[in-house]
Symmetry: C3
Subunit: 414 residues, 3 copies
């Protein structure tokens, strides 16, 4: 197995600063396997929201490449994660994507585990079996304001810094007192890195996201921000700050362009910022108007958007009244599963406080616009005629940051 790794190091070394990755990163099965081990089975992954499993025994299943993980709320109310694989002969325990279970019972020979993963019952086995050693293999789990993260590694990287930064920013949004209004699952026909490269720039927004650019300012960059635009941004910032000054609600991203993220030089794989919305917009909705009741501690709809993202698989945009999270999971060299979840206040009632056809279109359209151009990008980067190209220093500084983060993460572990 040493030869592929030597080839990987050579491949990493080919990268020219400020230019896109070589085609092999998107087209070679060996690279994908290396990523699975170095990144996806080592880093903290966003799994879902605690409000998806409010009751003891509620669970959902997360598929990371070939691995299946159960995230379940225990009888003690604690949310835990464990491999969805029986310790007897390896059978998959939960076949459904989500559900409710008093016990986790393997369908094959009925080995029975408690909701904390401990082996409770295994009829027919020898008496001297050490049951304590045969609980479901635990997966590390942490939460930030109801956002559940898991880590498949035995020795997970630091989580506290992410938690410390994101918690106060997220708190007013009320994600712990939210509910899921809708989940939509997508299969993107592109490598997961192309999805991030797409996410990390708004260079493509003008042509692809007519809805998004009406609501936001971050598609403007240093090169195309006029004085008029700068004034509008400043006004928008001021508008909010007049109303409230609590730390968590302050607009923290005031300039043009997107907030810088990630930052491999300082091991920053997490970020959160509050950004002004365009004039006339209090929510990332089609017409900018509120589409559900206020969430969390918000005193007023005019709170801009709270945005958070964590490498390698999550971003969330939250307005005063709803939040939309996106979770990525790799499912092969050229396939990425995306789950987009719309959250509203737990007391909001569908049909009264919100309508799905008003709540969803903004991010449904924006997401699908992205997935489609990622598909077209995949077709190109796998061609023998593809050569790395230059990133815009005005507009793609974050794509470069992503690529540098990726190469570091890939190399650190090999």
């Amino acid at each position: 197995m040493n030869e592929p790794l030597a080839q990987l190091a050579e491949l990493v070394a080919t990268r020219r600063d400020g230019w896109s990755l070589a085609g092999a990163f998107y087209a070679e099965a060996d690279v994908y396997r290396a990523e699975m081990n170095a990144i996806w089975r080592r880093q903290w992954l966003f799994a879902g929201h605690a409000c998806q499993i409010p009751e003891a025994g509620d669970f959902f299943v997360v598929a990371v490449d070939t691995d299946s993980v159960i995230v379940i709320r225990g009888d003690d109310g604690v949310v835990r994660a464990m491999h969805n694989v029986c310790r007897h002969r390896g059978t998959q325990i939960c076949g459904e994507e989500s559900g409710h279970a008093k016990k986790l019972v393997c369908p094959y020979h009925q080995w029975t585990y408690a909701t904390d993963g401990s082996l409770q019952y295994c009829r027919g086995m020898q008496e001297d079996l050490d049951k304590d050693d045969l609980g479901l293999i635990p997966v590390h789990l942490r939460t930030i304001e109801g956002m559940i993260y898991i880590c498949l590694s035995d020795s997970p990287p630091d989580f506290d810094k992410a938690c410390d930064l994101m918690t106060p920013m997220a708190r007013p949004q009320g994600l712990t007192t939210a509910k899921i209004a809708k989940i939509v699952d997508y299969e993107i026909q592109a490598n997961w890195k192309l999805v991030w490269e797409n996410n990390r720039e708004c260079y493509h927004c003008n042509a692809h996201h007519p809805q998004y650019i009406r609501a936001n300012y971050d598609h403007y960059n240093e090169d195309d921000t006029t004085d008029a635009i700068r004034t509008r941004i400043e006004c928008a910032v001021e508008r909010g700050e007049k109303k409230w000054s609590a730390a968590g609600l302050a607009i923290s991203h005031k300039q043009t362009g997107m907030a810088c993220f990630p930052d491999p030089d300082h091991d920053i794989w997490y970020s959160a910022n509050r950004t002004a919305l365009a004039d006339g917009y209090v929510s990332e909705s089609m017409d900018g108007q509120q589409v559900s009741t206020l969430m969390g501690d918000y005193p007023d709809p005019e709170v801009g958007t709270l945005r958070m993202r964590t490498m390698p698989n999550m971003w969330i945009h939250a307005s005063c009244d709803h939040a939309v999270s996106t979770r990525l999971l790799p499912a092969g060299l050229g396939k990425t599963r995306a789950r987009v979840a719309w959250l509203v206040d737990e007391n909001a009632v569908e049909g009264e406080d919100y309508q799905l056809d008003r709540l969803m279109p903004f991010w449904q359209l924006t997401s699908e616009q992205d997935w489609d151009i990622c598909r077209v990008a995949q077709l190109g980067v796998c061609s023998g005629g593809y050569r790395p190209g230059p990133f815009s220093t005005y507009k793609e500084y974050n794509v470069d940051a992503f690529v540098r983060w990726y190469l570091k993460a890939l190399s650190d572990q090999n």
Copy 2:
């Protein structure tokens, strides 16, 4: 090609006695390729029943991974096997799964072979061609009481011991004077080894096979056999033995649990035994009643079940009135083709002596129940979260025997 083999030896060495195999055995293409050569292209494989091809020119085709083999009855009445590949430019000769042919004619350039595989005619070739050297490549073939075995190796392992053991046990069943009542083909979404591991234990029977456990005693094991059950088994054995004592009809498996098989320590890849059926059952049918006329030499319906199995791809359960064989063939890392064949006496008439809806359900249900749980097992053992687990010494001694047989077979040839 030496590197993969070294890795295979390392992998084999990881096995812990009495525990299940590492995930790589079910998930790595290199392992599958090694198995194809070390096991499936070296061992004797059950191909089908002689009664499928009663007339000269009758043939069927067997697909072992990518290899296709014709099994055909020659003009001289002898059944032979040969590769389904023209000696000219390699075209597949028989496209149908079974049929009747006076000659085997390659569809491409009409090279024509006799039913014994010899090249008879090849219009347009040079005169000095040595036709004798261009017959269809023969595949070794042997039969045991109408059960046809083939071996793709040039130097097949010993067959005589299997033949000597199985022939007298099988003879009274009358498989040579049987006919096919029905064949059903399945595509199991699991590695072939999982299908055997499933077959080699009845630990799963209580939960999965409500029909099977009513008819049989072998799902009871040392740990859960009460005195009452032991008495019922003894009565069942006695019931039969009162009626007949001919060698072939004696109940040879009298204890609880399944007959031990295979036995890698003594190179035993074949076995046969007669086992008592439950009280009130004379046939493995839904209600235990006879579902066709008596087969072979049976004097009386109360003959228990004759069971035979050969590694790596056959088992058969035979009652007084019908027999059901299962043939496995690997079709990729996670796919196994199974053919289940129901045999009855050659003179039995459908609609009069037997009805398919009475004959088939017992084994159709039992088979499909197994295939489904094998599919679920496959999903788990390919997960990164799978770790080998312990076999029950009470109930999975035969799974352990299978695994040891497999590892020996895999290693012997590499």
Copy 3:
């Protein structure tokens, strides 16, 4: 990467003169990858006809394995080829198979290229970017009488000899004043080499091509040509030559059997010849009658057939009134895409001068007959039971020539 190449050399060395290739050439992914680099990304490939893109901005796309190439007529009327991959981040530019474009605009960030591939516009990029260095990657392109060839290599092999030979032979056919009457695309379930092996002999014609053999003499070979047949061929040759004697129209293939091609010993990967049609045939049509108006400079329908072919992916048969070209493109180990195009004079009007149901059947049937037997051949050569077999020295001299050409081409580059 040296190990696979060493194994390839070993594999090449196994070939026995006059016998077919080892199965690995059709079944091993490593061989396919080697071919893509040594042959398909090095040699001249037929791409299509200039008349498919008559106007400036007309384009079509050619997929060679994973590579996509745009062939486009520039504003200056010149036809050029370039990789269908944006120089920015590698996105595929043209999603349609053919069309018309004033500019080539990448759908992602709207980088805009002129029809000559030069980068014209890239909004949002840094000012110091060297646009001259960021045109679409050019692909070498040459034409012979409207037949467009491309070469993916930076240093293409010689083209002039092919051009010099084929141009005068092709000229009278008028392919530069032709139009496409119909294109049909096929996906052949066979390795591309099997398609050529099929094309390079008429040993299979009697059994597979009832239409073809009525129109042609080349299915006769030295071994089965009677005096009567030889006389008919001589008459057919004479018939034509009485009428015209211009160099390009002379029957150049006068003997039985197919014209010899390719010739690896003299680096001949191109050929052209004029061949007599059977008595009563002036066109390769179902009844031998003319099916469209005369093409090019033909003074009279009785011109036999002009046949040209170039390795590794083109052949064309042209009668007085129409021409049918076949373009092969590999799409995986066991899949070949074939495009069959019917050409008629540019002034011929459908429904008046020609009907598709009279124009197409001859080559549609003949092509589909070939694709089907290639599929069956693929099934056989991938079997473990396949062994190379002998070619007929009478009928398969050209299959042998192809195999020798292939092995030389494969080895030269590795």
